[in-house]
């Protein structure tokens, strides 16, 4: 953004270096495979001694054309694409996309499906923040934090696997509801996790919160004040760490968030330490919401009754995996020609969505995750655009890093918590 930015294209490295116009600085290429850059993020840093004087993030190494791919698939198949964008928070991608499709279809999702969506999203917020804590700790030398963070995340991934069949990229939330109900053993497994988790956060905090090394590496580092954050579109824990009490779950409640009792985690300081405190508090709040959602889980279906939208299946989770129930197979194959035709049409062609466009934002672990979905009235989306919070927040990287030491650049990038799957899409 400043005149000191270095143009990094496909040119020779010598040409990159010559652009700086100074002969007393060093241009260092960090990434795209540096272990401290959270995936394939590339930073081109101009250094004066150990001080960073310019930072140019270069992205796109993980671009997979998800937005383009969705345009040639039907609306239901879109879920399997969006879930692969931000791989630490796939439920949020699915939720925002499905909410956008449901808004266009004007269908109301059953209460049970809404509550399960909230439950899973909050568990995933914990698992996403755990990865941030584990990798962020690792990068600053708190190696044990990496082991503890991934240990607890593993338990959550096992729960997700039990419920959806997959540890990541679940494709569990579908337009109109959920693909299937929770298995019988899931509530107990989740309760077991929620019972032990608050004690685990206490452990993390006793390791880090008063640790002089941790504080020295984080306090006053990577300052991003509220005004700058808002101008750069930065949302989520980054914004809340700058003292702005903004959370879409409270500001524009969706999927029944108004029914749960929780607080917005706000901290002053606008530095890496404040972001650490915000995310730690958010994990506690998420556990609180998950417990409430689990305790007040309404009975009923998990998919809209409208047969023109609902996926035509009665899935059974048997010992040999997942499949349609035999009764359902008997019905479509032996008894009802119409049911077979309906099943065939909906599975091969998909449902039609009325013409129009919507923008649906949700509060992902990284901030405002928005879906701009345009329908031309067909069985395929005309355009799906993701407003990914990692992408927008990463614009602030140059602001956070410039003027600090190169070692602090690592702490600042870690506190941004970018997920390149979401940035590059």
């Amino acid at each position: 953004m400043s005149a000191r930015e270095v143009y990094v294209g496909g040119q020779e490295w010598g040409e990159v270096v010559r652009q700086s116009g100074r002969d007393d600085t060093l241009i260092v290429n960090m990434g795209p495979q540096h272990p401290s850059t959270h995936g394939v993020l590339r930073l081109v840093l101009e250094l004066d001694g150990e001080t960073v004087i310019a930072c140019t993030p270069v992205i796109g190494y993980l671009h997979t054309g998800i937005e383009k791919n969705i345009e040639v698939r039907n609306w239901t198949q879109g879920v399997t694409f969006v879930t692969r964008a931000d791989y630490l928070s796939p439920f949020f991608n699915e939720l925002a996309y499905c909410m956008a499709v449901e808004k266009l279809l004007d269908v109301e999702v059953p209460a049970r499906a809404q509550a399960i969506r909230v439950l899973l999203c909050e568990l995933q917020r914990i698992s996403s923040h755990l990865v941030w804590l584990a990798t962020g700790g690792l990068e600053l030398g708190a190696l044990s934090m990496m082991l503890y963070g991934f240990r607890e995340r593993e338990k959550l991934l096992d729960i997700f696997e039990l419920i959806t069949g997959l540890r990541m990229n679940h494709a569990y939330i579908r337009p109109g509801g959920l693909i299937q109900d929770l298995p019988d053993t899931a509530p107990d497994r989740i309760r077991e996790f929620l019972d032990e988790f608050p004690e685990r956060i206490n452990d993390y905090e006793s390791l880090l919160s008063d640790n002089p090394l941790w504080l020295a590496r984080n306090t006053g580092i990577g300052i991003l004040e509220a005004d700058d954050a808002i101008a750069m579109g930065v949302t989520g824990p980054m914004l809340r760490a700058a003292g702005v009490a903004h959370d879409l779950r409270k500001a524009q409640p969706y999927s029944g968030y108004q029914n749960y009792d929780f607080e917005i985690a706000v901290e002053e300081g606008a530095d890496c330490a404040a972001r650490y405190r915000v995310r730690m508090r958010e994990m506690r709040e998420s556990a609180k919401i998950a417990r409430q959602a689990l305790g007040s889980l309404p009975a009923g279906p998990v998919m809209v009754a409208d047969p023109k939208v609902a996926w035509p299946a009665q899935l059974n989770l048997g010992a040999d995996g997942q499949g349609n129930s035999l009764d359902y197979i008997r019905k479509i194959m032996g008894e009802s020609m119409e049911a077979l035709i309906h099943h065939f049409k909906l599975v091969t062609e998909g449902f039609k969505v009325p013409q129009g466009q919507v923008y649906v934002p949700v509060e992902s672990p990284r901030g405002e995750l928005g879906y701009h979905v345009v329908s031309a009235g067909g069985t395929k989306p005309w355009r799906v655009h993701m407003r990914d919070p990692s992408f927008v927040n990463l614009q602030a990287a140059s602001h956070l890093v410039s003027g600090g030491l190169i070692a602090d650049a690592i702490a600042s990038i870690a506190s941004l918590d970018p997920v390149m799957g979401g940035v590059d899409r």
């Binding site: 796109g60 698939r73 808004k103 266009l104 101008a231 930065v234 405002e368 701009h372 407003r387 614009q395």
Partner: protein
């Protein structure tokens, strides 16, 4: 649409009578059409005289084949007001063949990467952008992939030089085999 937002839209139309359209409500979301000549001024007005301190998103849509050519590209700006908790969508239409639009990076720095993304995928040139180059596609890429006339390409298969046709022509009679959906 609540009262304050409809008042704001009326004021906005008063300030730019020939360049801002009637507010439209679609699925409960308010959007106004803005002519492309004044988009930066309208944005500045909405930030300074209006409540919209944040630009949430810039998104492009190519309506090739479903809209007249003068409205081929639509650029949607999703504005968000933290203090009033309101959203507004600005819709700007750009004809095919003259893909130019003023940049709003001086209004909201957030627009920097968002406009680069729209440029990368749709080829819309944002005049006045400080650093308009590709962001997600490789720098030497040719064409703008989110355009509807961009070829989707097929997949080479390891057997005797055959191709799986691109997804938009799959299921149509193949020119070589004559069978629908066959690998050609």
């Amino acid at each position: 649409m609540n009262e304050t937002l409809s008042e704001l839209c009326a004021e906005l139309r008063g300030a730019f009578p020939e360049h801002v359209g009637e507010p439209a409500i679609e699925f409960g979301e308010v959007s106004v059409r803005v002519s492309r000549e004044r988009v930066a001024d309208v944005c500045r007005w909405l930030r300074d005289a209006g409540p919209f301190e944040m630009l949430a998103d810039v998104s492009g849509v190519d309506s090739l084949g479903i809209a007249p050519d003068v409205d081929r590209f639509m650029i949607a700006y999703h504005l968000y007001s933290l203090r009033r908790n309101e959203r507004l969508r600005l819709r700007v239409f750009i004809p095919g063949g003259d893909e130019h639009l003023d940049s709003v990076t001086t209004v909201w720095p957030a627009a920097n990467w968002m406009e680069r993304e729209v440029y990368d995928f749709f080829g819309i040139v944002f005049d006045g952008h400080p650093d308009l180059r590709r962001i997600l596609m490789p720098d030497d890429w040719e064409g703008h992939p989110q355009r509807k006339d961009y070829p989707l390409g097929g997949t080479k298969v390891e057997f005797k030089g055959v191709m799986i046709p691109p997804p938009d022509v799959r299921g149509q009679p193949s020119t070589t085999t004559g069978y629908p959906g066959r690998i050609s």
